[in-house]
C-alpha cells in the first residue's frame, strides 16, 4: 500500500427515504470511530449539488484518498459519485457505496433501531473494504460507428431512419419477410383515424432504399458476442428460395401456386399461396416460398412457379446463410404479440364463430384485408348491425397472469366503434369496460364523439358470451354498474380487445443479448426516468412495445430517443468501461489449467513456454469465476480481490448484535437487483442479512463461505441469476457445482448444511428475495446455536 488510507464517510438522509428509518447522524458519528476514517458527515441529499460539493471539498481539504457514500443503490448513483470524486482527482475505483436505502430503510420501516444497527454494520464492512481498494487505470474502448436495429416495426424503422440520417451505417434485422410490423396490419390509427399504411408506407420505402440502412429481412439474431462499442453479431438469413436481386415482385408465382394456406398476416382469416408476399405494400417487395407448405419440398412435385418466373429468380436449393456483422450499438425494437383469448372459455373465442379479436376486426375492416374492407361476420357473412366490444381480455387479469394494463385496447375499441357507426349510424354498438382509459392527446375528443354517435358504454367486465344456436347470434351477460342492473344483450358479433404480450421469443433474445426481463415479461429498462431507453448492458438500447405496451406516437418517440442515445455513444467514439478484470500472479500459478476450463469467454490462456496462465485483458469481462476456482489463490480480481471480500465478511461478523446473522453474497446483475426491487416495492423482511455485492455468483469462493461460518455466521446465502440468465453465460453453473461440494464439506465439519442456501433471484423477483430472507431467518431460529468450538479457532 503506498499511502496510509484516509477515508471520508458521507451518510445520506435522501430526504425522508433513509432519514425517516435510519438515524443517519448516529451512523455518521459511529463511522467516525472506525479506523482510518478522517471525515464522517451526514447530508440531506448527498446526490444533489450541495451534497457533491461537500464530498469534493472534504477530499480537497482533508486530502482523502477513499470516499464512502452510504445512500441509495450503486445501480442508481455509482456513476454520479464516481464522476464527482474524479473531478477532484480521485480515481473512481476508490469510491465505495453502501446501500442503506433499498436494502435497509425501505425494507425495515417498522424496525428503526435494528435498521440503524444494520446500516452501521454495512458502513463498517465498507470501511474495512475501502482500506484495501486500489486505483485502477481508465479502461477505454473505441466504439464502432455502426448500429444494429432488431425489429422492423414502426419503432425500429424510425430508430434506423434517424441513425442513418445522422450518418451511421445501420443494419435493420426483421424476422418476417417484410418490415412494417403490426402497424402494417392496421386499417386506421386512433385518435385521428388516419389511414395506418399511408403513414407507414413512406417510412418503409425510405428505410428500404436509404443508403446507410442495410435491410436484413427474413433473418434472425443467433449469437451476440463482445461488449459495448464492439458487438459481434451472428445473423441467420433464412432461405427465401427466391433470389432477391432478380425478383421484381411481379407476383406471377403467387397467382399460379396451387397451394392455399391461411395467411398469418391476415391473422389466418385470409389465404395465401406457398409463394407469397405478406401484404401488397411489403418492403422489400420480394416473394418468399414457404417450404413447409410448398408441394415441391413436401412431395417433390409442381415447381410451376419456377417454370413460369420470367426472371428465373426461384432457386429451390437456396441454403440458409449466416453472416457476421460488427456494430457499436444495438437498438431492440422487437414489439409485441396479441393474446390468444381461447383459454378464457367464458368468451367462447374459437368456439363461437362470431367472436373475434380486435386485430381480426382490424384486418376485416382493412380494404387490403380478406373481406376487402366490408365488415362481415364470420358465421354467415352477413353485415353485423349489433356489435359488442369486450375490454381487458387477458389484461388486468391475475388469473391469466397478465396484471398490467395494455394501454391501447380502450382506444382501439373506441376507434373501431366509431368506424362502425360512421358506416351504419343506426347500428347498436356496446363497449363493456371497467375504466375507459382515454388519456392521450385527442383521446377524450374521440371518446366524446363515440358517445355522441350513440355508442353505449357499459361499466362492468363482461361476464360471459353464449351463442344462440339457431341464429348464430351471441348473448353477452354483464352487470352495468352505471345503472346497477344485470344485462343480457343479444349481439350479432363480439370483438374481444385482447392484451398486448411480450413476444414468445423475448426470453431467448434476452439471453442472447444478456439483458434482463421485467416482471411482466417485457424487457427491463435501466430506470424508468433516469435512463428510460437504456438497458443494464451498456450499448444496448430499448424502444417501443418491446419494453411495454404503448401506442404508435409513443413508439415513434421512443424509437427516436433510442436512436439519440445510440448516436450519443457513437458520436463520442470511445467509452470508458469497467476496469474490473482478472490478473494471474505467476509465482503462485502452478499451471493446472483449471481456470481456462472455467472461463466462458476463453479470456485466460496458458503460456506454453512458462506453463503459466495469462489473462487477455480486452476479452476478460471480470466475472471472477476463474479466481474462485483457482486452488492456489493465484488469480487477483481487480476491485473484487479475495482480501477485500474477506475483509467485508470479517467486518460483518465482528461485535454481532443480532442473531441469527446471515452473510448474503449477491450478484450485481440479478439478485442484487432483486434485493433493490424488494426495496422499491417496500416488501418488508427481517434485518438479519448483511449483503455483499459481487459481479457474479461464480465469484463466491468456498473459502469465503467457510470463513463466514468459522467467524460465527449463523447462515450464508449465495444468490445469483437463474440458470441461462447469467450475465457471464455460465457463471451460475459453476456456483451450483461448488454449492453441492460445500454442502458435503459442511456436513463433515459438523455444521447443519441447511445453514448454507443457494437461491436464484432475478432482477424482477423482489418478493422472492424478501421471502427467501424471511424463510432463512425462521429456519435458523429453530436451529440450535452454532457449536462454540467453531468460534475458538
Amino acid at each position: 500500500m503506498e499511502e496510509e488510507p484516509r477515508i471520508g464517510v458521507f451518510v445520506c438522509h435522501c430526504g425522508l427515504n433513509i432519514g425517516a428509518v435510519v438515524d443517519a447522524k448516529a451512523v455518521a458519528e459511529y463511522a467516525a470511530t472506525l479506523p482510518n476514517v478522517i471525515v464522517s458527515v451526514d447530508n440531506k441529499y448527498t446526490c444533489s449539488d450541495p451534497g457533491q460539493e461537500e464530498i469534493k471539498k472534504a477530499v480537497k481539504n482533508e486530502s482523502l484518498n477513499r470516499v464512502i457514500v452510504a445512500s441509495c443503490s450503486p445501480r442508481m448513483h455509482e456513476p454520479t459519485f464516481r464522476k464527482a470524486v474524479e473531478e477532484v482527482g480521485l480515481n473512481k475505483y476508490l469510491m465505495e457505496m453502501v446501500n442503506i436505502r433499498e436494502h435497509v430503510s425501505w425494507v425495515h420501516m417498522q424496525e428503526k433501531e435494528k435498521a440503524t444497527e444494520k446500516a452501521k454494520d454495512l458502513v463498517r464492512m465498507a470501511v474495512m473494504r475501502a482500506a484495501l481498494l486500489q486505483a485502477l487505470p481508465k479502461k477505454e474502448v473505441t466504439i464502432l460507428d455502426r448500429a444494429l436495429v432488431i425489429g422492423g416495426g414502426v419503432t425500429g424503422i424510425n430508430a434506423a431512419l434517424d441513425l442513418a440520417n445522422q450518418g451511421f451505417k445501420t443494419y435493420l434485422v426483421e424476422k418476417t419477410p417484410a418490415i412494417g410490423g403490426y402497424m402494417a396490419m392496421l386499417d386506421k390509427t386512433f385518435p385521428t383515424l388516419d389511414c395506418s399504411i399511408c403513414i407507414l408506407a413512406p417510412m418503409m420505402v425510405d428505410a428500404g432504399n436509404h443508403p446507410n440502412i442495410e435491410l436484413l429481412t427474413y433473418s434472425e439474431i443467433t449469437k451476440v458476442d463482445g461488449f459495448v462499442g464492439n458487438f459481434k453479431v451472428k445473423v441467420k438469413k433464412k432461405p427465401r428460395y427466391v433470389d432477391m436481386d432478380l425478383c421484381n415482385g411481379c407476383g406471377d408465382c403467387g397467382e399460379v401456386c396451387p397451394v392455399r394456406v391461411p395467411n398469418s398476416f391476415d391473422v389466418n382469416l385470409g389465404k395465401r399461396g406457398a409463394a407469397y408476399v405478406p401484404f401488397p405494400q411489403a418492403v422489400p417487395l420480394k416473394y418468399t416460398i414457404d417450404s413447409e407448405n410448398c408441394l415441391n419440398f413436401n412431395y417433390g412435385i409442381c415447381q410451376t412457379c419456377q417454370k413460369i418466373c420470367p426472371k428465373h429468380a426461384i432457386d429451390f436449393n437456396q441454403a440458409e446463410e449466416e453472416i457476421e456483422i460488427d456494430v457499436g450499438t444495438i437498438v431492440v425494437a422487437t414489439g409485441f404479440e396479441t393474446y390468444n383469448p381461447a383459454p378464457k372459455r367464458e368468451y367462447g373465442y374459437g368456439v363461437y364463430n362470431n367472436v373475434i379479436t380486435s386485430i381480426e376486426f382490424e384486418r376485416i375492416k382493412n380494404a387490403a384485408g380478406p373481406t376487402h374492407g366490408k365488415v362481415l361476420r364470420p358465421s354467415d357473412g352477413k353485415e353485423p348491425l349489433r356489435v359488442g366490444f369486450i375490454q381487458c381480455v387477458g389484461s388486468r387479469d391475475y388469473r391469466v397472469g397478465h396484471e398490467y394494463c395494455s394501454n391501447v385496447c380502450c382506444m382501439i375499441s373506441i376507434k373501431q366503434a366509431v368506424q362502425l357507426k360512421e358506416k351504419h349510424p343506426k347500428a347498436e354498438v356496446y363497449i363493456f369496460a371497467i375504466d375507459i382509459r382515454a388519456f392521450g392527446k385527442g383521446f377524450e375528443e374521440i371518446y366524446r364523439r363515440a358517445r355522441d354517435m350513440g355508442v353505449v358504454f357499459i361499466k362492468g367486465r363482461a361476464a360471459e358470451v353464449i351463442e344462440d344456436p339457431k341464429t348464430g347470434n351471441l348473448l353477452v351477460s354483464a352487470e352495468d354498474l352505471y345503472v346497477g342492473k344485470q344485462l343480457e344483450i343479444e349481439l350479432d358479433m363480439v370483438v374481444l380487445a385482447t392484451a398486448l404480450l411480450p413476444r414468445a421469443d423475448a426470453k431467448e433474445l434476452a439471453q442472447t443479448l444478456n439483458i434482463s426481463l421485467g416482471q411482466e415479461g417485457f424487457f427491463l429498462e435501466a430506470h424508468p426516468k433516469l435512463r428510460p431507453v437504456d438497458t443494464f448492458t451498456d450499448g444496448i438500447f430499448l424502444a417501443g412495445a418491446s419494453a411495454g405496451p404503448k401506442d404508435v406516437p409513443e413508439c415513434v418517440a421512443q424509437g427516436k430517443a433510442a436512436a439519440s442515445a445510440a448516436a450519443c455513444l457513437m458520436a463520442r467514439g470511445k467509452i470508458e468501461i469497467e476496469a474490473i478484470t482478472a490478473d494471474v500472479d505467476n509465482e503462485l500459478c502452478i499451471g493446472c489449467e483449471l481456470c481456462t476450463l472455467e472461463c466462458p469467454y476463453g479470456a485466460i490462456q496458458m503460456i506454453e513456454e512458462l506453463n503459466k496462465a495469462e489473462v487477455i485483458e480486452d476479452v476478460c469481462k471480470g466475472c471472477g469465476t476463474c479466481a474462485a476456482a483457482c486452488p492456489q489463490f493465484a488469480i487477483f480480481m481487480k476491485h473484487y480481490t479475495d482480501e477485500q471480500i474477506l475483509a467485508q465478511v470479517r467486518a460483518a461478523l465482528t461485535d454481532v448484535k443480532e442473531r441469527p446473522l446471515i452473510v448474503a453474497f449477491t450478484c450485481n446483475w440479478c439478485s442484487y437487483g432483486g434485493a433493490d426491487l424488494a426495496g422499491i416495492s417496500r416488501y418488508q423482511y427481517p434485518t438479519n442479512a448483511r449483503i455483499i455485492r459481487l459481479m457474479c455468483s461464480g465469484r463466491v469462493d468456498p473459502t469465503f463461505v467457510f470463513e463466514a461460518f468459522k467467524l460465527g455466521a449463523d447462515g450464508v446465502l449465495v444468490s445469483g441469476c437463474h440458470i441461462g440468465d447469467c450475465h457471464y453465460a455460465t457463471g451460475n453453473y459453476r456456483t451450483e457445482t461448488r454449492y453441492i461440494a460445500m454442502k458435503h464439506a459442511l456436513k463433515q465439519a459438523g455444521i447443519d448444511p441447511r445453514r448454507l442456501r443457494l437461491e436464484w433471484v432475478s432482477a424482477s423477483e423482489g418478493e422472492k428475495f424478501a421471502s427467501v430472507i424471511r424463510e432463512m431467518v425462521e429456519e435458523l431460529e429453530q436451529m440450535p446455536a452454532l457449536l462454540p468450538k467453531m468460534e475458538r479457532t
Binding site: 435522501c14 430526504g15 425522508l16 427515504n17 425517516a20 440531506k44 441529499y45 446526490c47 444533489s48 449539488d49 450541495p50 451534497g51 457533491q52 448513483h77 454520479t80 473531478e87 424510425n158 434517424d162 445522422q166 390509427t189 385521428t192 403513414i199 417510412m203 389484461s395 396484471e403 398490467y404 394494463c405 394501454n407 375507459i436 382509459r437 382515454a438 388519456f439 392521450g440 392527446k441 383521446f443 377524450e444 366524446r448 361499466k459 354498474l481 352505471y482 346497477g484 417485457f522 424508468p528 426516468k529 433516469l530 428510460p532 431507453v533 404503448k550 406516437p553 409513443e554 418517440a557 427516436k560 430517443a561 436512436a563 439519440s564 442515445a565 448516436a567 450519443c568 458520436a571 422499491i680
Partner: protein, 426 residues
C-alpha cells in the same frame, strides 16, 4: 464537432435531458430558464410514481450535470426576447434579468437570507412556505446563487453588509446576449389548472382544500414542513384525506375536455405517501371517474395501493364540498355510482387533483415564435409521424408544452427532440 449550436428553452427535467443529449453529441447548447434555478415542477415533488423513487435523487444529479457540462451554457433567470432567421441559422436575443447578486462571487452560503428582514410567500412552495426577499427557491437549487426579489426588497442593505464575498450589487443591470443557433427545442412545461374556477369545490375559500402541488410541497422533505402533513387551518394532523380527480380536466365547462393523464397516478402516489408520512396512519379516499393506470407498472401500483396500503377508491365525481364553519372540516357530497349510494362524508383535508394546462412560459415564447397551437394552448406537431417537430422547421418541442404527459414520456420525448435538433446542427 461543429460551430452550430442548439438552444433549449425551459429547464425542467425535459429541458435538462434534451440539453444533455445534445451536448453529449459534442454540440454547443444554450439552456435558458425563466426562474432562478433549473429543475421545473419535478423539483417540487417528493416522490415519483410508480416506483416511489425519490424525485430529487433522480433530478438533482442531472441538474449538476447540466451546470457542469462543458458544452452547455446555462442561462438562468433569463428569457428569450427575440428569434429571427431560419432552420440552421437562428439568431436569438436572450435577456438575463438582474439578480442584484454577482453570480461569480456568490457561494450560496445563505447568510444573507438569515439576516434578511423581509418574509414573503414562496411560490416554489405553492405559497404554503415562506422565503426571504433574498432567496434561492429550494436548498438544492442549481446554480446555487441567491437572487434578490426587488418587488419585496426594502433595500435595507443588511445582506450587502453581511456577505463576505461582497456578491450583493444593487445596481446590477439586465444583460442581453445574442446567440446564433442551428435549432431550438421548446420545453416550457405546464402550469396547474386554477381550481378557484370550480366554485362548488371551494378552493381558495376553504383553508383545508389544497391543490395537488400544494400537497406535494407538504410531503416534500425539503418542503415548508419537512415532510410532515398538517392542516392549513389549524395545523392539526389530518386523519381523513379525500383526493378528488378530474378537477378541471375532462371538463368542457372550463374549456379543458382533455384528460391530463398524470393525475390518477399522482393521486394514488400521494395517497400512499400520506399514509406513510402521517404517524398513526390516516384514511385516504380517492373519488374518480375512471382510474387511468395505463403505463408500465401503473396497474400493479394501483392494485397495490388498494391491497397493501388500503387506499379507498370511490367511483363518483364529487358534486360539491361544504365547509363546517367551526371545525374547518369539509363535507364532501358524492354519489358512489357503483352502488348508487349517496354519501356525505366528512374529511379533515381535501386534495384536488388539478389538471395540467400549458404554462405561462409557453404563451410568452409563442408571442415571439407564433407557432400554431391547438385550442387548449399546446403546440401542434408537424404530423403524426414526427411528434417532436413543430410547424417551423428547425424548432422542436418536448414535454408537456406539446401535450400532457408524465416524466418518463417527457424524458423520452426530450431525447427524440435532441436527436432531431442535432441533425439540424451538424
Amino acid at each position: 464537432m461543429s460551430e452550430k449550436s442548439v438552444l433549449v428553452i425551459g429547464a425542467g427535467v425535459t429541458g435538462i435531458q434534451a440539453a444533455l443529449d445534445v451536448a453529449n453529441q459534442g454540440i454547443k447548447t444554450y439552456l435558458v430558464e425563466k426562474t432562478p434555478s433549473v429543475g421545473g415542477h419535478m423539483a417540487q415533488l417528493d416522490k415519483t410514481f410508480p416506483t416511489l423513487d425519490c424525485s430529487a435523487c433522480i433530478l438533482t444529479p442531472k441538474m449538476v450535470d447540466v451546470a457542469r457540462h462543458p458544452n452547455i451554457e446555462l442561462l438562468t433567470y433569463s428569457e428569450v426576447k427575440e428569434v429571427s432567421g431560419a432552420a440552421g441559422d437562428f439568431t436569438v436575443k436572450i435577456e438575463t434579468k438582474p439578480r442584484y447578486i454577482d453570480a461569480t462571487k456568490c457561494t450560496g452560503c445563505g447568510h444573507c437570507a438569515l439576516h434578511c428582514p423581509v418574509e414573503v410567500l414562496n411560490d416554489f412552495d405553492e405559497n404554503i412556505g415562506v422565503r426571504r426577499a433574498i432567496y434561492v427557491p429550494f436548498p438544492q437549487a442549481v446554480p446555487l446563487v441567491y437572487t434578490i426579489d426587488m418587488d419585496n426588497c426594502i433595500e435595507c442593505e443588511l445582506c450587502k453588509n453581511i456577505c463576505e464575498a461582497e456578491a450583493v450589487n444593487f445596481d446590477q443591470e439586465s444583460e442581453e446576449i445574442e446567440v446564433n443557433v442551428g435549432s431550438i427545442i421548446l420545453a416550457t412545461g405546464y402550469d396547474l389548472f386554477d381550481a378557484t374556477k370550480l366554485k362548488n369545490y371551494g378552493y381558495g375559500s376553504y383553508d383545508n382544500v389544497l391543490s395537488s402541488l400544494e400537497f406535494e410541497r407538504l410531503l416534500s422533505a425539503s418542503g415548508p414542513a419537512g415532510g410532515h402533513v398538517f392542516r392549513l387551518s389549524d395545523g392539526k394532523i389530518p386523519r381523513r384525506i379525500a383526493f378528488l380527480q378530474c378537477v378541471g380536466s375532462r371538463d368542457t365547462e372550463h374549456g379543458m375536455p382533455y384528460c391530463s393523464r398524470v393525475c390518477c397516478m399522482y393521486a394514488i402516489k400521494n395517497a400512499i405517501l400520506a399514509k406513510d408520512h402521517i404517524h398513526g396512519g390516516c384514511e385516504t379516499t380517492i373519488f374518480y371517474i375512471d382510474v387511468r393506470a395505463f403505463g408500465k407498472g401503473f396497474e400493479e401500483f394501483y392494485q397495490n395501493s388498494q391491497i397493501r396500503f388500503g387506499v379507498k377508491f370511490v367511483r363518483g365525481k364529487v358534486g360539491e364540498i361544504a365547509e363546517d364553519v367551526d371545525t374547518n372540516n369539509l363535507i364532501v357530497r358524492v354519489e358512489d355510482t357503483e352502488t348508487g349510494q349517496l354519501f356525505e362524508d366528512e374529511f379533515d383535508m381535501v386534495v384536488l387533483s388539478s389538471g395540467l394546462v400549458p404554462s405561462q412560459g409557453s404563451a410568452e415564447i409563442n408571442k415571439i415564435l407564433n407557432l400554431p397551437i391547438d385550442q387548449y394552448g399546446f403546440f401542434e406537431e408537424l404530423n403524426r409521424i414526427s411528434p417532436v417537430d413543430t410547424k417551423i422547421e428547425g424548432v422542436y418541442m418536448a414535454g408537456v408544452c406539446e401535450s400532457v404527459k408524465d416524466i418518463p414520456d417527457g424524458v423520452g420525448q426530450a431525447s427524440a427532440a435532441a436527436m432531431r435538433a442535432s441533425l439540424k446542427a451538424i
